[in-house]
Symmetry: C2
Subunit: 255 residues, 2 copies
């Protein structure tokens, strides 16, 4: 199914569940919407922290159409579930946000770790994901946005570590190269098998002797930081329900 067909089904009301296995090869993106008043500081936070927050697209204020990522899409309807936050607290989890939309909303599409999974899989690299973690690394703040870096972890075989780093380095909009290799405690992670977010449905078995944990900056960083800033209004896609763009992952190489 093409991203356009997929989005049209969702727009029509279909619940197709999580997006982790749909439209393989097309970049997916985290949707974060903030009022125009906060858009400069949000964008500044992203460009000051490009590893967790690679910006795939930013809409014109009031426009729901991401002109670079998928010009025919409508960000008010093309995700299957949204979270609406008031002062940093969840207020509603609607299936569309037509009734919440405001002419001063600016929508940000942030690159997503699923694209890392895709480029590794197409490169025949076997790996296991363990979840996402808060670290002790502080992001560079911008206006009200500040907080710790969130990372994802993949267990990679020793023979594949160099290739994994080389390949992911080519995809800065998919978080690029790992920000840390090896010891989880080195970035403040106490227990690799109890992630803070994106917990796997089945517990991860202990790492084998030839597996090394590699940690990538994660787009959830902006989500955590933005919620912590307690904006009067903020809208996001629900966890695991990403926006499916028209951008082939390959096209993002070195962009």
């Amino acid at each position: 199914m093409s991203p356009r067909e997929y989005r049209e089904l969702i727009r029509g009301g279909a619940d197709l569940g999580l997006t982790s296995n749909v439209c393989g090869g097309y970049a997916q993106a985290q949707l974060d919407i903030v009022p125009k008043k906060y858009a400069f500081d949000y964008l500044l936070f992203c460009i000051r922290n490009p590893r967790p927050c690679p910006v795939l697209d930013v809409t014109d204020p009031g426009s729901p159409h991401p002109m670079r990522a998928a010009p025919q899409a409508d960000l008010r309807t093309d995700l299957s579930q949204y979270n609406v936050y008031i002062n940093g607290k969840i207020e509603a989890e609607p299936k569309d946000i037509k009734s919440y939309w405001s002419s001063d909303f600016v929508a940000f599409l942030i690159g997503c770790s699923l694209s890392i999974d895709w480029v590794l899989r197409t490169s025949d690299i076997n790996f296991r994901t363990t979840g996402a973690y808060m670290t002790n690394i502080q992001c560079t703040p911008a206006g009200p946005f500040k907080g710790p870096l969130v990372v994802t972890c993949r267990l990679i075989k020793g023979k594949d570590v160099a290739t994994t780093i080389r390949i992911t380095s080519c995809y800065p909009t998919a978080h690029g190269a790992p920000i840390h290799v090896g010891n989880p405690a080195g970035i403040g992670i106490k227990d690799l098998y109890h992630p803070d977010m994106l917990k796997p449905s089945v517990p991860v078995t202990p790492k084998e002797a030839d597996e090394i944990p590699l940690f990538w900056a994660c787009g959830l960083t902006t989500r955590v930081v933005a919620l912590e800033a307690k904006l009067p209004t903020m809208v996001t896609g629900a966890v695991g329900r990403l926006f499916v763009t028209d951008l082939p992952v390959e096209k993002l190489a070195n962009q």
Copy 2:
């Protein structure tokens, strides 16, 4: 001389002229200052047009200190000449902007073509620069900012074209790879030997049979576009007088 020493001399009132041959190996940056009201759209224009407008740093509103590029510098005093524009027209060309500074100013440091010259020279590639040109390529607009792409041109020997492209591709914050190779008319340039901007002091002799024109996106794009938008106030560095950062060019590879 280190960038810090150089900036301190200027801050003390020394006029050291153009910056094209100072502090070799350190990235220089174009300074553009706009009021906070326009900062989101300006930044959006930059990230929508990353080839001409690679963002090296953005200050917090009201702060003259570029925390990434040179945290000890003061952007009000550390260039040897500035241009102050009112409604897009030049109003003053002061040696410092202490009396013009406003608490709602946001300063942008945009990557500079001099860094391309540097990486090519250190790679032993001989080339000739011919100037900067308006093209028929339109940038992606953002708010009031819209207009044509400005490019610089370098004449490169056929044997060096591939290496030149490979090397410059590694420096996206120095405008990355060329955006066009060969025929100037292909991007709307009528006369290679009469550039629109950055005219060389000595006319360039006609290109030799084994020279090919390579065209790079140029930071002057934002300057042209921002002036055309006729902001009530805008401050820039004077042409050829760039801000000398503390960032070694090599450190910007693949960033």
